[in-house]
């Protein structure tokens, strides 16, 4: 019985060419069942996670780079001039930081608040700095700070 089972498995994984011997005509059908089973497993992974939301390390979904960039903050700063006009504020120049250094990426809300505090301190007392910022989420950009108020007054 075990020998028969092993022969069946051998039939399925066989890549041999030529006609099947008499009595082993079902090898092609077994191979078809194996094909359907393997293809079914390939499809089951992404269907489970991407359609039904089932999370499992055992099932592979194909959501490449879907988490990359999540949380990144797009921020811009403006400072009010003595004549009342708002002009863009270069945070690197204001803080004397290299453009390719750590300040290039503002990673989260806490870091945004920290950068804003440093800019306010560098601009001096009574400075009016406006911050516009949004954060990347799975559903798109989410506004986390508007320029409606002076950020240095917080």
């Amino acid at each position: 019985m075990i020998a028969t089972g092993v022969r069946r498995v051998a039939d399925v994984v066989s890549i041999g060419s030529g006609a099947e011997p008499a009595g082993r005509v079902s090898a092609g059908r077994l191979r078809l069942f194996a094909f359907i089973a393997i293809a079914g497993f390939m499809i089951a992974g992404p269907v489970a996670e991407q359609v039904f939301g089932v999370q499992s390390a055992w099932l592979r979904s194909w959501t490449m780079f879907s988490a990359i960039g999540m949380g990144v903050i797009d921020a811009s700063f403006e400072i009010r001039q003595p004549d009342g006009a708002l002009v863009p504020l270069d945070r690197f120049e204001m803080l004397g930081a290299p453009r390719n250094g750590r300040l290039k990426w503002i990673q989260n809300r806490e870091e945004l608040a920290s950068v804003t505090r440093r800019l306010c301190a560098a601009a001096g007392q009574g400075a009016d700095i406006r911050v516009r910022a949004r954060q990347a989420t799975r559903s798109g950009w989410q506004i986390i700070h508007t320029d409606a108020e002076n950020a240095c007054a917080d």
Partner: protein, 297 residues
Amino acid sequence: MPVPTDAAADWPGWRLMHAIAARFVGWAVETEGSSRSSALIRIGLAMLFWSRWSGELLLYMDQSPVGLFLAANFFVATTLLFVGYHSRVAAVWTGSVGLAMYYYFGFQLGREPWTHHHTYLLAVAALLVALTPCGRSYSLDRYLAVVRAERTGIAPPAERGNLWGLRLIVVQLSVLYFFAAFDKTSYAFLSGARIEAIFLWYYAGSDYPAGLAWPATIVSFGVVALEYSLAFGLPFRATRRYLLLPGLAFHAIIYLTLPVYTFSATMALLYLAYFDADEVDKVIARLQGIGFKEEIS
């Protein structure tokens, strides 16, 4: 009056479905052809395994028993796969090592980025190539078979076999493309927001470049359309001719712009599975001058 089963058999739709099913079965599990494209994939996969992990698995990198055990298995299995000695067993061995790295070392032990899609794709590709006649060409298996045939005075075995493993690779690639596109079929991606976020993450930092919005939206629509097209178009000869270069260019751009490790190269290698194995054989023969000599003689 015909009996119901005859009536069903005469229904044109049923006959059409039966013909399509028969054609699918013939394509999936009954096609035999040259083993050379399978062999090329086998060799390419071994090289991709080395390219991706050789440095990380050198014996001094992890000197724990389990680390050394993994490294030993990795190098022996991939070497056998590369030279083609007991090729299909070597492919199963290599694929199993890949899955162990993905599931145990990656998910259980938290070793990153071994949980990424490029690891899984390489492991699965190795397992699937085990279902092809990958050892019947360009291998030590082939050399030994030819030597045995010469010694016994018989013709060497044909470089042919059942290609159902290649068909499964085609299915895997189509599933991958379809669900990659499915994941992106949302407002968040099609609006360009996710491409913008990825661009900021890797390139621009927290300063949104002027003029990025429209290109990001156009690229997003293009990527989704291309991935759906690749999923459904690459398996068919009529559409493949228009999609092959866009598909390869797509992977080349991703390879140059994002840290995808061996993913792009693996996809490009597995494109061989789309082609008729005998056509690939003819191209190889032409490259070697065999077909040319026959034509002029």
